[in-house]
């Protein structure tokens, strides 16, 4: 790629959690040497929101999810806490998802795991895949892994899903015929109209966007980007987006989990 106009600022959250926002690309990446968190491509003002949890509007969702974590729901009379204890027990989980689930025989996302526990272990209704309640919960689970390097597995039983995701990443869609790679691999660091293009990493998800003032899931973001190519999108939670999430996550192997992050 032509040039990476990522800034050189350092991200430390609450003065104690060091975030790896720049590192050497994982070996499977053919066209990129260095990977950057999307944080580097945002303005100083936007970046600052993430340096302290009191300033991070995404932490409001984390607080709401903490209440839900302890709230009994469903026919089994259980809460997340009944089985998992403190939310801190989820430390490390976000870093390895999406992940192959032996029992389901497929790669699953965090949101799918949460709904699986709700429907099969709590006897509760599932939450809407990209809805606020779910995205808040994924943000809570992410928040306890902040600072840990993303490390999703791409081989073994996950490999065919990963390959499907890679194909989707390079497919040029819609009437504008643009792929994820056109914008986030060939053109990161450049301006596309008013937007400073990042590498489209998902280590920061869920992201609180100043634009729509809420936490956004990775699949909602994917949908928006595909729609902007004047294409028919895939649905959040679809096999295609699960595969794409695994592939995109793997492009960020080595960056710290950062969610909930703040973007514009």
């Amino acid at each position: 790629s032509a040039f990476a106009d990522a800034d050189t600022d350092k991200l430390v959250i609450n003065g104690e959690i060091d975030i790896i926002t720049t590192t050497v690309a994982p070996a499977h990446l053919e066209n990129v040497d260095t990977i950057y968190s999307g944080w580097h491509f945002r303005s100083d003002e936007t970046q600052a929101f993430q340096m302290d949890d009191f300033d991070n509007p995404g932490m409001i969702g984390v607080e709401k999810a903490s209440e839900n974590w302890d709230t009994v729901d469903g026919s089994e009379g259980k809460s997340c806490a009944s089985c998992h204890g403190e939310a801190e027990s989820m430390a490390g989980v976000r870093a390895v998802y999406p992940k192959y689930n032996e029992e389901k025989g497929k790669v699953t996302t965090l949101a799918m795991e949460v709904n699986n526990c709700r429907t099969e272990r709590m006897g509760a209704e599932k939450w809407k895949y990209t809805g606020g309640t779910m995205t808040d919960m994924v943000a809570l689970i992410s928040s306890v892994s902040r600072g840990m390097p993303v490390n999703v597995a791409i081989d073994g039983p996950a490999q065919s899903t990963w390959e499907q995701g890679k194909e989707l990443y390079y497919a040029r869609t819609g009437q504008l015929e643009l792929s994820c790679a056109n914008c986030h691999e060939d053109s990161y660091g450049m301006m596309i109209r008013a937007d400073h293009l990042s590498q489209g990493q998902i280590n920061g998800f869920p992201t609180y966007r100043l634009k729509n003032t809420k936490l956004n899931s990775a699949h909602a973001r994917f949908k928006g980007c595909v729609r902007d190519t004047r294409a028919e999108t895939y649905n959040p939670g679809s096999d295609e987006f699960i595969a794409l999430e695994l592939y995109v996550a793997s492009r960020g192997n080595g960056l710290s989990v950062e969610g909930p992050s703040v973007r514009n």
């Binding site: 040029r172 819609g174 009437q175 060939d186 450049m190 596309i192 109209r193 595909v226 729609r227 028919e232």
Partner: protein, 156 residues
């Protein structure tokens, strides 16, 4: 029969507002990426073309900078600056680039503005929903001509 068919064709032409001497996207002939003849059969209007560079149909400045349009904020950096494009390229080449840049620049990121076939997962504009059949081209034949007329004025 023949007269009926012709008048049906004429009605269709009038209904879509496409003039009879317009070359439809699938009939455009490219020679080394260039297109010799006007797509609308008419001359372009450079002032109308300048407007198309901005947000809306063309949105060319999403990817290109044009110094003389510095009143338009947020010009992109994906493609080369278009300053001097009228010196670098002939009118026929500019027409070819605007109509379907992928003929001149293989694999380019620049969208094809006058092409209606061969898309993957075509959507209905920006709705995210599928578009049945072929779409309207991003620019009409006359809009392509207007843009080309404008680009020829970009000399240094």
């Amino acid at each position: 029969m023949k007269i009926l068919a012709i008048s049906a064709a004429l009605t269709a032409v009038l209904a879509t507002g496409v003039a009879a001497d317009t070359v439809v996207p699938s009939d455009v002939v490219y020679e080394d990426g260039a297109v010799a003849m006007s797509l609308s059969g008419k001359a372009g209007d450079a002032a109308a073309g300048e407007k198309i560079m901005n947000k809306g149909a063309g949105n060319c400045i999403a990817c290109h900078q044009i110094t003389s349009l510095d009143y338009l904020a947020f010009q992109g950096e994906i493609g080369p600056a278009l300053d001097g494009a009228g010196d670098r390229w002939s009118e026929a080449e500019l027409r070819g680039i605007v109509a379907n840049a992928k003929v001149m620049f293989e694999g380019t990121m620049m969208p094809s503005f006058y092409r209606t076939e061969g898309f993957y997962r075509l959507g209905d504009a920006y709705t995210g929903k599928a578009h049945p059949g072929n779409p309207e081209p991003l620019l009409t034949a006359q809009q392509v001509e207007d843009v080309v007329a404008y680009l020829t004025t970009l000399t240094e």
